[in-house]
């Protein structure tokens, strides 16, 4: 077996998902080097494997499943996640969810040189000790959102909890953009690979709020950037970022 045949065999078995043990380790190290021949083999094998489900007798899920699914997404907010901060903290208790929300609000308001009314804090039902506990978590970071262009003043905070695989972006004083455009938030890792974290628009006062969660390898993000894209969002940034928040 030649050197090329060896890697082709491993690539085919890898695409099939059967590699384990040393074979898996060796192939991963090889593929990480960017072998174009292996990429070709992986791609072709995936295409072939894509035929296999079509060899089965077609089935359909029950109509009840569609009803449940549509009801589930209807329960979610316009950004596709439960309203408020619950998407970020879904795995957490509601108490902790409240703590995150209020902690973010406290920081947000402090950034605006405003103080929350005591009654508002009481209404939230969260005590300062909870804020302290939350903010003492090593994985929680409060990032300042900065303008890439000094002519644009922006007030923004990004609550980032890589351990919870999510976060929340709060922005004020956003510029107006055409109705067929939208803002898009990106997480960018050390390899400069952008991951879309959500598409959003501002309200009439220029305020916006984005929750994001369920990310893969979120600890690798080094910077968050915001671009203006077509209304449905883009698969990768197509314009220069307007704002950024560095981790």
């Amino acid at each position: 077996m030649t050197h090329e045949q060896k890697w082709q065999e491993l690539a085919e078995l890898y695409a099939l998902g059967v590699l384990d043990g040393d074979d898996l380790t060796v192939f991963r190290e090889h593929a990480a080097g960017g072998c174009s021949q292996c990429q070709q083999t992986l791609y072709e094998t995936q295409t072939i494997l894509g035929a296999l489900p079509h060899t089965l007798t077609p089935l359909a899920p029950s109509p009840a499943l569609k009803e449940r699914l549509m009801a589930e997404i209807a329960d979610q907010g316009p950004l596709g996640v439960p309203s408020g901060f619950s998407a970020l903290v879904r795995p957490l208790s509601w108490g902790l969810a409240g703590a995150i929300a209020v902690a973010a609000a406290v920081f947000w308001l402090s950034g605006q040189n405003l103080k929350p009314e005591p009654s508002q804090a009481a209404k939230a039902g969260v005590h300062s000790t909870e804020h302290t506990r939350l903010l003492s978590e090593e994985s929680v970071k409060m990032l300042a959102v900065e303008s890439e262009d000094s002519s644009q003043t922006i007030y923004g905070k990004l609550v980032w909890n890589f351990r919870r695989c999510g976060g929340c972006l709060l922005l004020k004083n956003l510029l107006r953009i055409p109705p067929d455009k939208a803002f898009q938030l990106w997480g960018i890792d050390e390899r400069q690979k952008p991951v879309s974290l959500g598409v959003f628009t501002a309200d009439q006062n220029g305020n916006a709020h984005v929750d994001f969660h369920g990310l893969k390898n979120p600890e690798n993000f080094t910077v968050f950037k915001i671009t203006v894209e077509d209304h449905g969002g883009a698969l990768a940034p197509t314009t220069q970022p307007l704002f950024q928040a560095r981790v």
């Binding site: 998902g17 995936q46 295409t47 060899t55 316009p78 974290l197």
Partner: protein, 188 residues
């Protein structure tokens, strides 16, 4: 806002267009259910997988990248990964399903010259495809693809040397490839 192009549908789903999501579900839920049922052989658990897959699509449509494969391939990989996770039990989830998704997420990039292969509509060519493999090849491939077994597990289950299993799997895939190319009018 609903469209018929699946990639356009995904872009609309990114913008939280419910009608596009419904159209996408109507198009692909059968494929997802078929795949999940084959792996799990239990309609309740299969529907749980389909629900998880489509909720993931609703929430993470922005992560789809067309250059890494057609929407159908995305559905298949998601369904297979989630169903195998469920089959093995969440506590036993190992690196295998991670590897399945890696092939689309981080390792696989469509290379130069891949576009022609991508244009192949495999649905047109699969009738009786598996029956054209030898029993040994078909069994090994089904254990790998639908039962989520690793090469070592297949070897242990069939009481065969690991090398024999690898050969059967590779020969089976080469045969499938040749059959698909044959239908497509290309040379492998």
């Amino acid at each position: 806002m609903a469209a018929s192009n699946p990639i356009q549908l995904i872009q609309n789903i990114v913008a939280k267009d419910v009608k596009s999501f419904e159209q996408f579900y109507d198009t692909y839920s059968g494929l997802s259910m078929t795949m999940a049922m084959r792996i799990l052989r239990d309609s309740t658990r299969a529907e749980e997988v389909v629900q998880d897959v489509f909720l993931e699509i609703w929430n993470k449509a922005a992560q789809y990248q067309s250059k890494r494969g057609a929407p159908e391939a995305w559905i298949i990989v998601l369904t297979r990964s989630r169903a195998i996770d469920k089959l093995r039990g969440s506590k036993n989830k190992d690196q295998k399903t991670v590897a399945l998704e890696e092939t689309l997420e981080s390792v696989l990039h469509i290379p130069q010259g891949g576009a022609a292969f991508a244009g192949m509509d495999v649905r047109l060519h699969v009738s009786g495809l598996m029956e054209k493999l030898s029993n040994e090849q078909r069994t090994a491939l089904e254990m790998a693809y639908f039962d989520g077994m690793t090469q070592t597990e297949i070897a242990q289950t069939l009481a065969l040397p690991l090398g024999t299993v690898k050969t059967r799997l590779r020969d089976g895939m080469q045969r499938l490839k040749a059959l698909l190319y044959q239908h497509e009018g290309n040379q492998p």
